[in-house]
């Protein structure tokens, strides 16, 4: 037996800290939650209010714009129609809205953090273990304090998703910038580039393929969070999976599962196509 005297009451400390946060900053958290919720609800209403065929066409157009390939565009449209034919259109739109907000938030936070990490080795040394923790810590552990701070529903679902999904875009932004050929950077300096010019004209454009790959991964990970997020009250396809489990309705669970996979495929194909285009944008433009 491990001697009891050496036990550290970490759990108690964390409880006390969260209590303190709730008591002192509850209002601030609520205000933040409200603004996030406003955006999410607005987006959800637009997606659910738009006729299904317009959404399908929009997905096809975006798919074509990304890939310049009508077969891929048609495939994506068929995937969307399949989701609808499973009777899950409305729930899929709820999930879509949640994902778009979570992914955007991840990118808005992740890209600047990744840039900062690439610039500073010290920050990188601090951030890497934090990112590891974010990705490996079981999500239920931070769902509970998120619940306490923001209450049940969509906002803690988004935050839990961001915590889980932001690391890839942070890591790949950092990696992309670090992979830029040092000789190209030296050449930029030799022609009198300032740090800002180097970042905007050289590092970011050259890191773009990696950043796009990071965004793609972030999107995929946020889709995989929808089931877990549904446990704290997020609506959508995850809710349907959860219901299938609770009622032992294997069929309903399977339908929702297939819909999630199809949604993931749609996002992945679009994201990858844009990633490829950012890699060799001139080639794609040359062909079109």
């Amino acid at each position: 037996m491990f001697p009891e005297q050496l036990n550290v009451p970490l759990g108690k400390w964390v409880n006390r800290f969260v209590d303190w946060l709730v008591v002192n900053y509850g209002d601030a958290f609520e205000a933040f939650a409200d603004s996030l919720l406003t955006i999410l609800v607005w987006l959800e209403q637009i997606l659910r209010g738009t006729p299904w065929w317009i959404v399908v066409i929009a997905v096809a157009i975006i798919g074509f714009h990304a890939s310049r390939n009508w077969k891929i565009a048609a495939g994506l449209a068929i995937a969307m129609v399949t989701i609808g034919s499973l009777g899950l259109w409305d729930k899929a739109m709820q999930t879509l809205a949640l994902m778009i907000v979570a992914t955007s938030l991840s990118v808005i936070i992740g890209v600047p953090v990744g840039i900062a990490m690439a610039m500073s080795n010290r920050l990188r040394a601090v951030m890497l273990p934090i990112l590891d923790t974010m990705q490996t810590m079981p999500s239920f552990v931070y769902l509970i304090p998120a619940l306490m701070l923001f209450g049940l529903g969509k906002v803690p679902a988004i935050l839990a998703t961001v915590i889980y999904a932001a690391p890839p875009v942070i890591r790949l932004t950092d990696l992309g910038i670090r992979l830029v050929d040092p000789e190209v950077l030296e050449a930029s300096r030799s022609f009198g580039a300032s740090r800002k010019q180097i970042l905007w004209k050289v590092q970011l454009p050259l890191a773009l393929p990696n950043i796009m790959a990071g965004i793609n991964q972030t999107t995929m990970m946020s889709i995989s969070m929808v089931v877990i997020a549904s446990m704290i009250g997020a609506r959508g396809l995850g809710e349907q999976v959860l219901m299938g489990i609770q009622r032992l309705d294997v069929g309903a669970g399977m339908e929702a599962g297939i819909a999630i996979v199809l949604l993931a495929v749609v996002f992945d194909r679009i994201g990858q196509a844009y990633g490829k285009r950012s890699h060799r944008s001139h080639k794609a433009e040359g062909k079109s």
């Binding site: 000789e183 050449a187 030799s190 009198g192 580039a193 004209k201 001139h282």
Partner: protein
């Protein structure tokens, strides 16, 4: 010529405690010992030299001799540990960031061994890169970039991307990028070393052509002696971070400062570097052709000097012809009295800038020393078999010694 760049006592120590290393340098401790004791690497050690306006100044040395570090100290891509770099009298080492950026944007551009082009930009965008950084408006920089591309013969590829071009073409883009902001100084770090020999020679010619049109000051880093000899007006030779000798190619070739410098020339074909004027000798009998100087006078001079051949020049030292004791005898017997009647047939003077390699045949087939003239036809002296062979043997000499 005015001094464009003056380097004074320039040092670069790589490591976290340069002061300590500098102290040891001042105490006369050598590089290897400093590294053993402190872990500090002395990259450039007390370099001092002057680059003149409009010349191609080649810095030569083996890899690790500090030449690439040296060139980066000039535009401060690497910060000097101590010393001065004066550009038109202003100390670059003391400039603030803003002044330094201005200098790099306007006055001093650089060409890299690895080309270092921006892969995400088209050829014309690459050429315009320096101008873009300097904030030149898009139309103007496009035009100036196209103009620079035109100078290196790449205008047709303006909209290609670097990875669609061959190595030689990519380096032309690198050259155009450096030319676009019309700098007065160009730093070229082993600019042609990554190219295959044929393209390399072509690029060297290109550079020399450009240099004829606009006299820029070029500092060219190279490890290739043939290249240095070919394009350099003056050469600095570096060894272990120290500039061991600065001089014209001929000066260095004729008076190498030490064995290291000499060793460079061991593999070099002297006959392609030296020209007729470098080995011409004057100790010959020359006869100035004028009124009153006839065949008999000439014959007397040859006999007095105990020489077989005589060189006839005009009063402005312009070369006329060669006579021999026999040809003068015959001319006198046949009743002629002009010197030209005794000229040996089929002997032509060679130009002073003829390479030795092109002279070997002529010298071998000419019974007497071959006369050398400058571009105005002025007689400079002769090259005979003995001095040509002695010069060509220099290489063997170095290998034995």
């Amino acid at each position: 010529m005015t001094d464009k760049i003056v380097v004074k006592d320039l040092y670069k120590v790589f490591g976290d405690r340069p002061d300590q290393a500098m102290q040891m340098i001042n105490d006369g401790i050598d590089k290897a010992e400093i590294f053993d004791k402190t872990g500090q690497t002395v990259g450039v050690c007390g370099a001092s030299f002057t680059v003149r306006q409009g010349e191609i100044f080649v810095v030569m040395g083996l890899s690790g001799s500090g030449k690439s570090t040296l060139v980066r100290l000039l535009n401060r891509l690497i910060e000097p540990t101590s010393g001065q770099v004066l550009y038109d009298g202003t100390d670059i080492a003391a400039m603030n960031d803003e002044e330094l950026r201005e200098l790099r944007r306007r006055d001093m551009s650089m060409v890299f061994q690895s080309f270092a082009l921006m892969p995400h930009m088209s050829v014309v965008e690459n050429a315009a890169f320096g101008l873009e950084l300097a904030g030149v408006a898009e139309n103007e920089r496009h035009e100036r970039a196209l103009n620079a591309l035109d100078q290196v013969g790449l205008k047709a590829q303006a909209n290609s991307y670097p990875d669609e071009l061959s190595g030689g073409m990519q380096q032309r883009v690198g050259l155009a990028r450096a030319l676009a902001n019309d700098p007065s100084v160009m730093l070229m770090d082993e600019a042609f070393s990554a190219l295959d020999p044929l393209i390399r020679t072509e690029m060297q010619d290109e550079l020399l052509t450009l240099q004829r049109e606009h006299k820029r000051t070029i500092i060219f880093i190279s490890h290739d002696l043939d290249e240095a000899m070919r394009i350099g007006d003056r050469i600095a030779i570096m060894e272990g971070g120290i500039v061991v000798q600065v001089g014209t190619p001929e000066e260095i070739l004729n008076n190498p400062a030490n064995d290291y410098v000499k060793s460079f020339f061991r593999g070099v074909d002297v006959s392609t570097i030296l020209t007729a004027k470098d080995i011409v000798v004057k100790r010959q009998v020359t006869v100035i052709e004028r009124e009153g100087v006839g065949l008999k006078t000439a014959l007397n001079r040859l006999r007095n000097e105990d020489r077989e051949y005589g060189y006839i020049v005009g009063d402005k030292l312009d070369f006329h012809g060669i006579i021999s004791v026999d040809s003068v005898d015959q001319a006198i017997k046949s009743g002629a009295d002009k010197l030209s009647a005794a000229f040996l047939p089929d002997i032509e003077a060679v130009s002073h800038d003829t390479q030795l390699s092109d002279l070997i045949g002529t010298v071998a087939h000419t019974p007497c020393g071959v006369p050398v003239v400058n571009e105005n036809g002025k007689y400079l002296g002769v090259i005979n078999r003995a001095n040509l062979l002695a010069t060509l043997d220099r290489e063997g000499d170095g290998a034995n010694g």
